[in-house]
Symmetry: C2
Subunit: 414 residues, 2 copies
Amino acid sequence: MSVATRSIDDRRLRATFEALTTDGKTGEGGLNRPALSSAHLKARATFTELIAKEGFAKRTDGAGNLSAQWEAAGATASTLLLGSHLDSVPNGGRFDGALGVAAAFEVMQSLRDTGIAPRVNVEVIDFTDEEGTWVSLMGSRAFTGQLSAHDLDHPHGPPGAFDRALTRAALTREGILSAVRTDTSLRAFLELHIEQGPRLETRQTDIGIVSAMVGIFKYVVTFTGLANHAGTTPMDRRRDAAQGAAGFVLQVRQTVMREFPKCVANVGHLTLAPGAYNIVPETAACALELRAATESRAQELEAALRAAASEVAAQHNLKADFTFVQSVSPRAMDPALQSIFKSAADGLGLTSCSLLSLAGHDAQNMAARCPAGLIFVPSRDGVSHSSREFTRWEDCVSGCQTLFEAARRLVAHP
Amino acid sequence: MSVATRSIDDRRLRATFEALTTDGKTGEGGLNRPALSSAHLKARATFTELIAKEGFAKRTDGAGNLSAQWEAAGATASTLLLGSHLDSVPNGGRFDGALGVAAAFEVMQSLRDTGIAPRVNVEVIDFTDEEGTWVSLMGSRAFTGQLSAHDLDHPHGPPGAFDRALTRAALTREGILSAVRTDTSLRAFLELHIEQGPRLETRQTDIGIVSAMVGIFKYVVTFTGLANHAGTTPMDRRRDAAQGAAGFVLQVRQTVMREFPKCVANVGHLTLAPGAYNIVPETAACALELRAATESRAQELEAALRAAASEVAAQHNLKADFTFVQSVSPRAMDPALQSIFKSAADGLGLTSCSLLSLAGHDAQNMAARCPAGLIFVPSRDGVSHSSREFTRWEDCVSGCQTLFEAARRLVAHP
């Protein structure tokens, strides 16, 4: 190539994106490829073919993380890592993860096309199970040494299903735990992702530059009363656990909306037991998730909801148990990388703003290992994890251009 | 025996009750013998031994209903049927059903002991699956021809479990449907049962004479919103089905307590879907049961709750579906038998009152076939379907005496 590329090739980006969003495509136009499913493994095979076709080196690790490597600066140079994930939630959308891998790959190709010798190597990575079909953010946690045997012994899904998935993908628990990347000095990690929320669309802004990832805190809140005959027990003598759970579910929403406008909370699962038409529920277990930008804010919200649970329980003559299950700590993105993204967007004439990420991403794990940066592009109607998930193509291109400009600056310095 | 028995033999009643509440006894002192379980079939074997020991004839039918017959008045005479059930809910109490069978058996023995030739035959029956482990009130519905093949094709429990239970009990669907009793002219059906509620205890009354059984009406009320990311979807943009279900569960209780003091309602089961910590629930399905003394009152309550569901759905930008599942019609007990019970209790110096039954009982099915009467004895604290279920022994004896006096009057006339 005689003329240095000044920008990305949006037609090539489109072709890559189409190739990486074909396996597992649903009738509704979404993607159904939970981590390590046949469709997901097929998508990885497609990516592997693309890596070979473009003449990059392929690398995999014990956690199944799949990379394309361009050793442009020699074996002793550090590496700029770019990437996202090819897995999806069940019946998810096309853009969540796959756009980030396609954009990262386009950036590496475009960097090569510039003809300028970079001072760092470049690698594009597809992390395993970002969506937590089995173990939340498994690939990036394995890569950065933030995964334990305990985590792998408590996967999501029905008994045995994780083991069958590992067999299907030719992975082992030992292999996953051994996937910590120690032989690569990392200059930075950059990720492009769809926002999965409506803030950019509402503000009519092209690029969201993530300042920090919220912490995610999970609890089980259980109300306990007394199982009794639903015909013969007078209404005013019931100790109905469903009443406690119902009051609590409403309080969760009201408390967050009134007092914690920057947090979110969800009761996504609820089990009444014994669970029959004709038995007053003895227990009601609510799966509660809170998200907050700081540990201290999360603690304040937890305290408010603990008080709400106790109050509701007292109203209905129940006992409330508020049990912590697990958490992911809030994590700041690298300030220098935020500046580089801002300057890159400005240079392209794109509008940008600083955003808190309310979802978890692989970048939060990478931040424990090296400077990490994350940008968002708009999601139509804020919808994600759905076949209705959509990002306008010009927004995809703008995001990829911003990622390219940031990467170009980073590879210019060792 | 030379002297006619004037009353029942309470020590023999106690021995029978102990014998019939041994199989399936739990560590907590309750009974765990769901219909057609091994423990339940063992209890039936114990009852069969008792029938043989006392020299009564044993009869079984295709539904597994198990009877002791005393053909005292000849093959062409009509029959006074007495009884209840030996099955229990999972981890239920000792008195629910078993007391009624023991009391009925004692009454038949005592009638024989009187030495007076009755004008009708006497039969004590243990109905199959009163508790509806598989099919609600299955035995008495089969006995009275109120059961359909459709009912048997839609049993409760996991797939295949009912078939395994039938095999264990050597029953078949065809046999159950053929169990309609057509060769016996029935004088009346009498049942003694524990109240399973606190009204007799509260009123310090010995005997409850049931005027009617409430109708039982089952529905599934489903709220539908939109599944979305529980981190990135702002609280005020969620269409969270859990909020609808929660508001509805509270409204059900409040509506019944404020406007329908003689009815009861229960949401005993609730399913949120997809059902994960990090997904805003798209649907919430509530299993709703209403009980009312008349069809018209049930319709009024249903209308009020339909309105409440619509209102709650509108508040949270959801859709509400209110789907009828099944019902058991309210059923009056025979007025003449109520008078006989009242007079029997008065004669024994026992206090009595008229009560609506808020639970279903085999007597309601028998009422479709012959005059049916039902009396209650007090339940301590109103607790039932629990190992804490308890009735004082003197109350058990009082109930059995009342049943005996009523039966004695009935067998004196053809």
